[in-house]
């Protein structure tokens, strides 16, 4: 009985790893820019499409299939570098300091534009590029078979969490970001180019979302609608954690990921609603999320 649950946990953690990348990006962008980017999920699906396209291209042009792994990272970096600064400077930038309704309308508009762009560029058929998963194969531990790619996902998520933490606490840019999160005006007066920090944080958020999408392609493929689905999931995770909590997002992603897999296994009918049931319960008990605190805003 106890052993039966282990593969489920691994499955849940692998699921959580993917959600974590998106949710931590969402929460990072929220804590620095103070906007809830409704279009954030689109970067996940765009990352997935780009990664799948590059992956298929590598196979079709007869290159070494192991190149599929760096291709995942390159796909995410490409999406972030091309879209992050551009979208922040041209669109998101106008919503700073505006009301939540304006921010949600603008980013929702962006979401619709990005969804249609994806249909135009990548078509409406599902794309499967599972070379990396096939290459890594499976391993057997205690009579149970695991997909090695899932273990890799969990490892990468943990590394990303540690890396983000080190980046924020111990690097120059990271410290400047923390200062801007606490107090934008004082940061500006102390000589921090807050516009640049905003652009950087937004781009980092895009990168994390696109990386989640790129890493997801080998396990599930890409199809239209992925962005919306992911966005809602990432929002549930961020809400459970409390917006603005990096470590909290990891914990919440694990809760949601495991809840989802347990639901699929034991109560399949609840598969789609499990994350939101968890969110509902958490928010009923802790209205600001597990790790959130009340926000007081200065004028």
């Amino acid at each position: 009985m106890l052993f039966a649950i282990v593969p489920l946990i691994v499955d849940g953690l692998a699921n959580a790893a993917l959600i974590f990348f998106v949710a931590v990006g969402l929460t990072l962008v929220f804590s620095v820019l103070r906007i809830l980017n409704v279009a954030h999920g689109s970067f996940y699906s765009i990352g997935a499409y780009v990664a799948a396209s590059i992956g298929l291209w590598i196979i079709s042009s007869g290159l070494n299939p192991w190149l599929s792994f760096p291709a995942l990272l390159i796909a995410a970096a490409l999406v972030a570098a091309l879209m992050g600064p551009l979208i922040e400077r041209t669109l998101v930038h106008w919503t700073y300091g505006k009301g939540e309704a304006v921010q949600i309308l603008v980013t929702f508009g962006l979401f619709l534009i990005l969804e249609d762009l994806q249909r135009i560029v990548f078509g409406v058929r599902s794309i499967y590029a599972d070379t990396p998963m096939a290459l890594l194969g499976v391993s057997e531990i205690g009579g149970i078979i695991y997909l090695n790619y899932q273990l890799l996902l969990i490892g990468l998520a943990v590394l990303t969490l540690i890396g983000l933490r080190l980046f924020i606490r111990h690097t120059r840019q990271g410290k400047l970001i923390s200062a801007v999160v606490e107090d934008r005006e004082v940061s500006e007066a102390m000589g921090i180019n807050t516009r640049r920090i905003f652009m950087m944080a937004f781009t980092l958020g895009v990168f994390l979302a696109a990386l989640g999408g790129a890493l997801a392609t080998p396990t599930s493929g890409v199809a239209p609608g992925l962005g919306a689905e992911t966005m809602v999931l990432a929002f549930a995770v961020a809400a459970i954690a409390g917006l603005g909590q990096v470590e909290g997002a990891a914990v919440a992603a694990v809760i949601v990921g495991v809840a989802r897999v347990l639901a699929i296994y034991y109560v399949p009918a609840l598969d789609a609603v499990a994350p939101y049931l968890v969110m509902l319960v958490v928010l009923l008990i802790w209205p600001y999320g597990l790790f959130g605190t009340t926000q007081s805003r200065r004028i």
Partner: protein
């Protein structure tokens, strides 16, 4: 050295500064006195580039400061200590002091030199350098905010109501530190705001009075405080 010329500022459609002109000179301590809401803080924020000007200009050594972004001020030698301290709570006191040096990307040697300089002037900060910025009392916080402003304020330092809410002993301590600062950095221009003038009689070279967003009387005689509170 630093000159505001007919600066007008509106915040949310309300005129907060009306054609404010003032000049800061090297080595001169200017005190700006006014009630709450008179426009003292906005004057400092305008100099720091934190509010947009409706009209007027701000010149630093003849160059148009108001055309440059707010974050350029620190690099040009302007230090600013806001009224409510506004330290970064998750940073230690030393990290708070180092923040502007980090923002300007100063070399490690230069950072250390400036930090030692600030610790020399404010030795009490050296003793609590490891403490989190969020765990300081109001008076300690004011000292940290002053030290932080001094890290980059090579030409001018703007202090917003530094004595507001300080216990008498701490206020005296703070005033002594300011006096020491003036001895040590002779060419430094100081702009200090206060709602009551008396504490600053000893160090003010020039006293200006601001009311409803306009600077009223200019009085160059030290100690000649304008009435009102």
């Amino acid at each position: 050295m630093l000159e505001m010329r007919k600066v007008t500022v509106s915040i949310a459609g309300v005129r907060v500064l009306r054609e404010v002109s003032l000049t800061l000179r090297p080595g001169v301590c200017t005190v700006l006195i006014g009630r709450n809401g008179a426009g003292k803080t906005t004057t400092l924020r305008a100099i720091m580039g934190l509010v947009p000007l409706v009209s007027g200009e701000i010149l630093l050594e003849g160059d148009a400061l108001h055309e440059r972004p707010g974050h350029a001020r620190a690099g040009l030698g302007l230090g600013y200590a806001p009224e409510d301290r506004r330290l970064i709570p998750g940073f230690s006191i030393e990290e708070n002091l180092l923040l502007p040096a980090l923002a300007l990307n100063l070399t490690a040697a230069e950072r250390k030199r400036r930090l030692d300089d600030v610790y020399g002037l404010l030795p009490q900060l050296a003793e609590m350098r490891k403490r989190p910025g969020g765990a300081t009392s109001g008076g300690q916080g004011k000292m940290v905010a002053l030290g932080r402003a001094l890290m980059v304020g090579r030409k001018a330092v703007l202090l917003d109501e530094p004595f507001q809410g300080l216990a008498p002993a701490l206020a005296l301590d703070y005033a002594r530190t300011l006096a020491a600062l003036r001895r040590e950095r002779e060419g430094l221009a100081l702009l200090i705001t206060e709602s009551s003038p008396h504490l600053l009689d000893a160090i003010a070279d020039e006293t200006l009075s601001i009311e409803r967003g306009a600077i009223e009387a200019e009085d160059a005689a030290p100690g000649a405080a304008t009435p009102g509170h």
